[in-house]
Structures are given as structure tokens and as C-alpha cells.
């Protein structure tokens, strides 16, 4: 597989995204995922760089390019104590209108961003999944609605870490 200096492509992609030039985006996605025609066809680039950032604030910035404000309209359901860090059920739901994406960050994991969900119009702003946690950590749910970011966080205590070793 051809490696085009990934950092550079990411920067380009961000600019392209800001310019709203979706056609160009498809071209770049095609090059980056040369072995993955399905992805290129879906015209949806994977936010590779955001998944490689330490710390929640940096990862939120890397994914969205801005910071989130706390909101009581974002609700996260997760256990107080997770006995097994390998499987921590986390669900996020919100009453905010115009939601376009929901992302979940585990601050103390080696890379904070765990999952990011794109919510097209007609899909409910609610998602449940299961995540790995290396150790006790704040977990932050970020909801993008009407172009702004809203967050809720909760500390989850982990008895046995989910990253093995």
C-alpha cells in the first residue's frame, strides 16, 4: 500500500472539508484507502489522526477542530465501577436537536478517542456500545449539534484494566 505522508494528507483533508469541496475529498479518500474501494465509494474518510491523540481535550480538538461545552442535555449511561475494563458498556443519548455526530473519549486510554458515530438526518441521536478502558478514567461523550459541541463526562472506576499485560 502506498503511504503518502499521513499528517500532510490529514491537513489537506481538513482544509478541503472546511471548503466544503466534497468532490476533492472523494479523490483524497480514494488515494488514502487505495485498498479499500468500499470506503472511497462511501465518500467518508476515517479520522485516522484523531484516533492517535493522547488526552481527551487534544483528541476532541483533533476530531472536530474545536472544544466542547458541558451540557446537561447530553446523557451518558455507564457503570460507576467496571469490574472488567475490557468490556465497559457505555451509551450516550441527547435531547438536543440537529445532531450530526456523537463521539466517546476515554481520557486515560493510550489514545483518548474510542468511537465516533455519524448520525445522518432521520437517525436518533442515541448510541450504545462497549469500550475498553486501561484504568479508572473520565469518560467524555461529545455531541455535535447544529455545528456546536456539547459534552458530558463521568468517572468510571476500573478494577481490572482492559489493555492486558
Amino acid at each position: 500500500m502506498i503511504h503518502l505522508s499521513p499528517g500532510r494528507v490529514d491537513a489537506t483533508r481538513r482544509l478541503v472539508l472546511k471548503g466544503g469541496a466534497v468532490v476533492a475529498l472523494a479523490g483524497i479518500a480514494g488515494i488514502r484507502f487505495g485498498l479499500a474501494p468500499a470506503l472511497a465509494a462511501a465518500n467518508d474518510a476515517y479520522p485516522d489522526a484523531a484516533f492517535k491523540v493522547k488526552g481527551a481535550d487534544g483528541a476532541i480538538q483533533a476530531l472536530y477542530g474545536k472544544a466542547a461545552e458541558k451540557s446537561d442535555k447530553v446523557r451518558m449511561d455507564a457503570p460507576e465501577i467496571a469490574e472488567n475494563g475490557a468490556v465497559v458498556p457505555v451509551s450516550v443519548t441527547t435531547t438536543l436537536p440537529g445532531v450530526t455526530s456523537i463521539a466517546i473519549f476515554v481520557a486515560e486510554n493510550p489514545n483518548a478517542l474510542a468511537a465516533s458515530y455519524r448520525i445522518p438526518a432521520g437517525t436518533m441521536p442515541s448510541v450504545a456500545n462497549r469500550l475498553k478502558m486501561a484504568k479508572t478514567s473520565n469518560v467524555i461523550a461529545v455531541v455535535e449539534a447544529g455545528g456546536k459541541l456539547y459534552s458530558a463526562s463521568k468517572e468510571i472506576k476500573v478494577t481490572i484494566g482492559g489493555c492486558g499485560g
Binding site: 475490557a86 468511537a115 455519524r118 432521520g122 437517525t123 436518533m124 442515541s126 450504545a128
Partner: protein, 103 residues
């Protein structure tokens, strides 16, 4: 080969609830095997659900999603008997897809 994707999509009123369970190791790249060597990262990066030719839900995943991932969401506009297409691709370029009928 048996599909790695198990999906249940249930329609009630105008809302369809989707639950999916995928078989995948979701290796993070931080875990060592019994010989003390790091197991290289191997995880699903993108999981897409399509209804009527349009994506209704796209998951971008990192290695912090648990082994054999589970996800649940709901969308409007699905009817009983409609097809829901599910596909994933991982960081090694492997992929799988499946089509489920909304019940």
C-alpha cells in the same frame, strides 16, 4: 465462511431499532502475547449501515472498542421487510458485509 455480522433490526411504528454484534478480535496493539511480544493492532475502523441506498449510521472505531463489538442505534423511515445493509472494514483492509431484513 459464516458471516462475522449478526444484526437484529426491529421496526415499531416509524422507528427501527438496530442491534449489531460483529466477530472481530479488535486487538489494540498494546497487549502482549504469552511470549511477551506485542500483538499488532487489528481492529475494525469503519462500520456502515445503509437503508434504501443511504447510510443511516456510520461508526468510526479505534482499537478501544471491545472485542466482538456491539452497537445499538435507531433510525426513522424503515419498514418491516426492508433491507438493511451492514458492512465493515478493518485496519488491515479486511472487510465483510451482510444484509438483514427489518422485522
Amino acid at each position: 465462511m459464516a458471516s462475522t455480522i449478526r444484526v437484529r433490526a426491529t421496526s415499531s411504528g416509524d422507528t427501527t431499532e438496530v442491534q449489531a454484534l460483529i466477530q472481530h478480535p479488535m486487538d489494540s496493539g498494546f497487549v502482549k502475547n504469552s511470549a511477551g511480544e506485542l500483538i499488532p493492532p487489528h481492529f475494525i475502523q469503519q462500520l456502515t449501515f445503509e437503508h434504501g441506498g443511504k447510510p443511516v449510521f456510520i461508526a468510526d472505531w479505534g482499537p478501544a472498542v471491545s472485542k466482538d463489538p456491539y452497537v445499538k442505534f435507531s433510525f426513522k423511515g424503515g419498514k418491516k421487510g426492508d433491507d438493511l445493509k451492514i458492512s465493515w472494514i478493518d485496519n488491515k483492509g479486511a472487510s465483510d458485509s451482510s444484509t438483514a431484513k427489518i422485522q
